[in-house]
């Protein structure tokens, strides 16, 4: 009996030693897993878990397994800080978040403060979708890296495309009432005014974020304004329900959007019959024609049941691995230094890089429209079983996406 205990204790020590030699890299995924943002938050979680599996299947990062720790923030900045602190206390050194710039700004502030107070226990914040421009301008932080084009870059590209569409006469802006929605409306007004002064902005709406369950009053207003085009940065439930209400009411306008492809969006577009009238700006589409990306898409869909909605998350995780290998360390300080200025072949092809001045990733971006797929061999992927999919209508090269920054980076 005594021997058995000794043997067991010895075995445990050995096992414990083996485990700590290959300690896993925990990435705290802080996004909504309940409430109005849950549909996008769960899609993101599936994506990151898939990407972690992909890395682990190839031996992880420098021999360390990658583990995604899901933390529900209910799209609430306060709750996010609680979750971030919880994660840090549990030994998480990397956090990633995307949904809601209000949350993003809070987390950016959190990592900055945390890292100045706890030297040796730095935390990096990988942002895959919070696009408020201020996060890489006046509020920029050395510990924050953003893989998504910021809202101004997207609006610049969208308005460049709209400039060449003579049918656009009256534009209606509808956005969520928080920092991101406000930056969309401001940028849209300013850029449309410069590029197409003849376009009339007939409405400029801000509605409560992720709280509206019936958009029919807003649709009535858009209709009454006589708009032929709607520009919106709405995402998640706020986009799907907006378009559902438009479908119910039979509103036929062109939509220029940031996130039409999110859960529920494609179904609503098909229902309205708005073929090739809904445009989206993103860093990639399933039918991009890039072979590696399309193979990835096929496998991803088979395993998760959703489409690749975050090519930027793929870039994020792959660049994380590349940076760790370049630094030959998984220490956040060294990884951050390696990421600065790093060049990378992006998911859908073409070169992107992280600008050292503000830690914004620049990459080719695409404007695509949603409609029926003529050539199944070239465009095999539809969305939400609608039979419709995204076609690229315009590509913007990395060099054309580079807007100046006001960031005054404080380096450690």
């Amino acid at each position: 009996m005594h021997k058995l205990i000794v043997a067991a204790a010895a075995a445990l020590t050995v096992l414990g030693g083996a485990a700590s030699a290959q300690e896993s890299i925990k990435i705290g995924y802080i996004d909504p897993l309940s409430g109005g943002g849950a549909s996008v938050g769960e899609g993101g979680l599936k994506t990151f878990q898939y990407l972690a599996d992909e890395l682990n299947a190839k031996g992880g990062i420098l021999g360390h397994k990658v583990e995604i720790v899901p933390l529900d923030n209910k799209t609430n900045p306060q709750e996010s800080l609680v979750q971030a602190q919880k994660a840090v206390d549990a030994g998480v050194r990397y956090i990633t978040q995307g949904n809601g710039s209000s949350v993003g700004a809070a987390l950016e502030d959190f990592v900055t403060k945390n890292n100045s107070r706890n030297p040796g226990k730095e935390v990096l914040y990988f942002n895959y979708a919070a696009v408020d421009p201020s996060m890489t301008n006046e509020k920029c932080s050395y510990w924050h890296f953003r893989w998504d084009a910021n809202s101004d870059i997207k609006m610049e590209a969208l308005t460049n495309y709209m400039k060449g569409q003579p049918t656009i006469k009256k534009v209606y802006l509808i956005n969520m009432d928080y920092s991101f929605g406000q930056s969309v409306r401001t940028a849209a007004r300013k850029m449309l005014g410069e590029k197409r002064p003849d376009i009339q902005v007939v409405g400029d709406e801000l509605h409560p974020m992720l709280k509206v369950t019936d958009f029919s009053p807003y649709i009535a207003k858009i209709k009454a304004s006589g708009a032929d085009t709607v520009v919106t940065g709405n995402w998640g439930q706020d986009f799907a329900l907006l378009l559902k209400a438009a479908a119910d009411a039979g509103l036929k306008v062109n939509w220029y959007t940031y996130y039409a492809g999110g859960a529920g969006g494609p179904t609503a577009i098909k229902q309205t019959g708005l073929e090739n009238q809904v445009f989206q700006i993103s860093e990639g589409v399933p039918n991009s024609g890039n072979k590696a990306a399309m193979d990835f898409e096929k496998d991803f869909r088979a395993k998760t049941g959703i489409s690749v909605w975050y090519p930027r998350a793929v870039n994020e995780m792959r660049m994380f691995k590349a940076a760790a290998e370049k630094a030959n360390s998984i220490d956040p300080v060294k990884v951050a230094a390696a990421l600065e200025g790093m060049k990378f072949e992006v998911f859908d092809g073409g070169e992107g890089f992280i600008r050292k001045d503000d830690h914004q990733f620049f990459q080719p971006i695409y404007i695509s429209s949603f409609g029926s797929l003529a050539d199944k061999a070239k465009e095999p992927f539809d969305e939400e079983n609608t039979g419709w999919g995204w076609h690229i209508v315009s590509k913007i090269d990395t060099a054309q996406t580079m807007l100046p920054t006001t960031c005054n980076m404080k380096r450690p």
């Binding site: 897993l33 309940s34 409430g35 109005g36 849950a38 549909s39 938050g41 769960e42 529900d72 009432d177 709406e205 801000l206 509605h207 409560p208 709280k211 369950t213 019936d214 029919s216 009053p217 807003y218 649709i219 009535a220 207003k221 209709k223 009454a224 439930q237 329900l241 119910d248 009411a249 039979g250 509103l251």
Partner: protein, 315 residues
């Protein structure tokens, strides 16, 4: 402009009738039993999820009947094994019980059905535009919601005011021992009333589920506005709740349609003042504050007319 007014009125009435469907059960329970049921919106959510599940198994129409009955049964169980025991400790104990119940139901629902929205769709038989006004379509399903609400309102009013059942139920509230002496089982009367109230909430859930979003936070979302409706209408008054629902529906819809702000009435602030919280307040539009208007109304009603529109007592 005429277009916006007509369409906003229609939208307001549709939303108001949904509110009424929800608040009718709450009003019935309050006026008959004096219990302010905090878990009412949770019964509504249960109705939506039962409706969703049963629709998958047996179709929408059977679910429309069965789901409210199930919710009613849950309600009766809550009354029989929960509220009846706490009743003797007074209203605060009852209130706390329903308060706790609301959280418990939310957690249970998210454990079973998850936290993200479920795919609960409008039945195919009602998925077409009923009519078109100013080239805006009105889905048949919304008209169906409207009809159900009106039918429930009339049925409830007739039952309570014109039948023997209503008489006994009303008497049981004010003179329980007298009603008991006359040979009626007061406990059972209360249990049935609570069951009917919960079933009404369940019905609202089954019907509203496909039109709004069915997910585990839907109760927390609509709960507060229900209290506005019943306080505004007068606690315990069914016609009051009806009028209040319509008014709140219309106020919210019209507020969204209006673009007025202090700046548009009095002109923009002097730019030399710079950006400050004052400029934010100055430029905020009525559309942006639409969601808080009902609560503002609640505060005003409580200050100036505590018994509500058609209420008879002050509690």
């Amino acid at each position: 402009m005429a277009e916006l007014i007509v369409i906003s009125t229609l939208n307001g009435v549709l939303f108001g009738m949904l509110l009424f469907l929800l608040s009718s059960g709450l009003t019935v329970i309050f006026s008959m039993m004096g219990v302010l049921n905090f878990a009412h919106a949770s019964f509504y959510m249960l109705g939506a999820f039962f409706g969703y599940q049963l629709t998958r198994w047996i179709g929408f129409w059977p679910a429309l009947v069965l789901a409210p009955l199930l919710v009613g049964a849950v309600g009766m169980a809550v009354e029989r094994y929960g509220l009846r025991n706490t009743h003797k400790h007074g209203h605060v104990a009852e209130l706390l019980l329903t308060f706790g119940l609301a959280f418990a139901i939310e957690e249970i629902v998210s454990m079973i059905w998850g936290k993200s929205p479920v795919d609960y769709r409008v039945p195919a038989a009602l998925d077409f535009p009923a009519f078109t006004v100013f080239s805006t379509n009105y889905p048949a399903y919304k008209i169906f919601m409207l009809v159900v609400s009106v039918v429930i309102f009339i049925a409830l009013l007739v039952t309570l005011k014109r039948t023997r059942v209503g008489l006994i139920v009303q008497a049981a509230l004010t003179h329980p021992s007298m009603v008991g002496h006359l040979g009626h089982n007061v406990g059972r009367v209360f249990m049935l009333v609570f069951g009917v109230g919960s079933a009404l909430a369940g019905l609202a859930g089954v019907i509203a589920g496909p039109s709004l979003v069915t997910q585990s936070d839907m109760a927390a979302f609509l709960g507060p506005i229900l209290f506005v409706v019943i306080v505004f209408g007068g606690l315990g008054s069914l016609p009051g709740a009806f009028i209040a629902s319509l008014l709140i529906g219309l106020i919210q819809t019209f507020a969204v349609a209006l673009n007025g702000s202090l700046a548009s009435v009095f002109g923009p602030l002097d730019p030399s003042l710079g950006a400050s919280p004052l400029t934010d307040i100055w430029n905020v539009t009525i559309a942006q504050i639409a969601p808080i208007l009902p609560y503002l109304l609640l505060v005003l009603v409580l200050i100036f007319r505590p018994m509500g529109l058609l209420g008879t007592r002050e509690s």
